[in-house]
Amino acid sequence: MTTKSQRPEVVHDYPDTSAYDPKTRRMMDTMIAAERRFLAERELEECECKDGMFPNPAASVTSRRGFMAGTAIAMATAGALPRLASAAAPPGAVEYAVPEDPTKVQGRPIAQDGGYGTRSQFETEVRWRFPTKTLESSWTMTPLDKSRGMVTPSGLHFERHHGGIPTIDPARHTLTVHGMAKRPKKYTMADLMRFPSVTRFHFIECSGNTFTEWKQAMMKTVQVTHGLTSTSEWTGVPLSTILSEVGIKDGAAWILAEGADAAVMTRSIPIDKCWSDAMLVYAQNGEALRPEQGYPLRLLLPGWEGNTHIKWLRRLEISDKPFMTREETSKYTDQVKIGLARQFTFTMEAKSVITFPSGEMKLPGPGFYEVTGIAWSGRGKIQRVEISTDGGKIWHLAALQGPVLPISHTRFRFPWKWDGTPAMLQSRCIDETGYVQPTIQDLVAARGVDGHPKFGSIYHNNGVQTWLINPDGSVVNGNHQA
């Protein structure tokens, strides 16, 4: 067993940024430094062997969590209150003393947590904030590397905010529906909750997900390359119910959705989508929405880019034309190689990624591994996921974990015996329309990389992700190398 100080320093190598102009280089270097710090902090939290997702009991004593737990025991024994150690607990957890043998002492008294549970003090995964300049206009990414199943815990659902997270009293929040409506309405939350409800599982993906990977393998972990997608169970009112209530006037074609945050976020939505599967949701994973997800009310547009799912929804204005707000003109538009920019690029096309093994993990040695990951499509169900271990030459069928739901993360698995030689792991999915997830090169060939001075392009990169497995078991981002 080695201690942290005796461990060889892990060098995180990144692409050389010296060829870029000074401004671009500064931005890239800031981003790289932030991920480097994140990885360094995570190493402190993790066990010594760093063997992917597998806990190593031999090393856990020297991990920070193990150390803190040991301290708590010592303090408890010495008569100090265990609560003193709780400051060291990971977010969402409370630090408790760890008994030598949990069968020989009573556990914690029941319901002393105030009636709302916490996660284990040994679980440390957290959302990671992208290093934007302001803390109010920024985004955080879901730790997909540790994800299981298809549902994202509400506290780990990715975030994108343009004006911080508002604190809204639901008793004072209202939704006003007006414009080309025969009977304009103002609804309280209590009004909205009286309507017949529906519950559905859906992913939400930011169209900026994977934006760093257009030109080269830029970031290290699947959290940072793909963590702007999450799936929840959502409950609310079909928007079609509300449109029936207010009565749509002839000629109406678009609806402006507006949030009650400091950005007063707005997007124009074609009315067809509003009549089909759009929802006004107030619940997520069986409880009220998290504030970061739009409490008390958010628009949910299944399969459409995350920015359109307006949070903290306060107003719907029915109109004949789109409103051309900032977020649908200067942002969330995709310049393609003819020099023009695609606008209203709503659909999130089929995409998949292997979450284990993925970047910065290390396989302990040759042998059996269950390759797993998630696939999703804004156009419906995932029909099939294929795995390649040789960079796309040969494809094997992966097993899909049921239920396979439309417009939802779908977990896939593939049993793999690693022989210890270099491997290039890839997944590609096919959705129920027959669309096959393209390679990044396919997308670049169609769209070019002249749309952004730094990254080549930003939105809608649903290309195949490559992970390289080195002979020592280390896993690195292999985009553009297959």
């Binding site: 029936s244 306060r314 107003r315 900032r326």
Partner: protein, 191 residues
């Protein structure tokens, strides 16, 4: 038997027919609408109906000029967007002008001047979300004035031009024809 309960006079029949008619009409209507919520007053809608559309709909009364806007810009915007309107890197403020003609260069500089297709969007966005440290704090005249100042610095209007609900939609934006519809899927990988 049943007929005994119905009045037989002509007037009474008319009353009953009217009641039947009312029931017949109202049943389907009430089945379609729950009628929850309340009708918002005009004032309630006006208080939050802040958007401005490219054709000028939604733009409020008021006006402003570049020279009026300069002082407002310096006080409220320059800390993040710079006195040169080129953005202050450490504050996270984007450049607002410049970059005209750069969109096809491979290193596009996307600003209000070079990229935004509608001048009304500047008014809409400043009114709803700016300044970042005090969003929604400028009155309509101030928003018109600061919009005018930015447009003037982008060589989109003259120094003496008055920007109001009539003139703002007429500002000719260089990239107004720069957007196309989304044709995706654009990669033919279907099976």
């Amino acid at each position: 038997m049943l007929m005994r309960f119905f009045p037989t006079s002509a007037i009474g029949t008319c009353v009953w027919l009217a009641i039947f008619a009312a029931v017949a009409l109202s049943v389907p209507a009430s089945a379609q609408t729950f009628d929850f919520g309340t009708a918002p007053t005009a004032a309630e809608i006006a208080a939050i109906n802040i958007d401005a559309m490219p054709d000028g709909r939604g733009l409020p009364a008021g006006k402003g000029t570049p020279s009026e806007g300069k002082a407002i810009y310096v006080d409220n915007c320059a800390a993040c967007h710079g006195t040169d309107l080129q953005g202050v890197k450490d504050a996270g403020g984007a450049p607002l002008v410049g970059g005209r003609g750069s969109l096809m260069s491979g290193s596009p500089k996307k600003t209000i001047e070079s990229y935004w297709p509608y001048a009304t969007t500047v008014f809409d966005y400043v009114k709803r979300a700016m300044p970042f440290n005090a969003p929604g704090s400028l009155n309509d005249n101030q928003v018109y004035a600061v919009t005018a100042y930015i447009l003037y610095r982008g060589d989109l209007i003259g120094e003496g031009d008055i920007i109001n609900a009539k003139t703002l939609p007429r500002v000719d934006m260089p990239n107004k024809n720069g957007f196309i519809a989304d044709p995706r899927p654009d990669v033919n990988t279907y099976r």
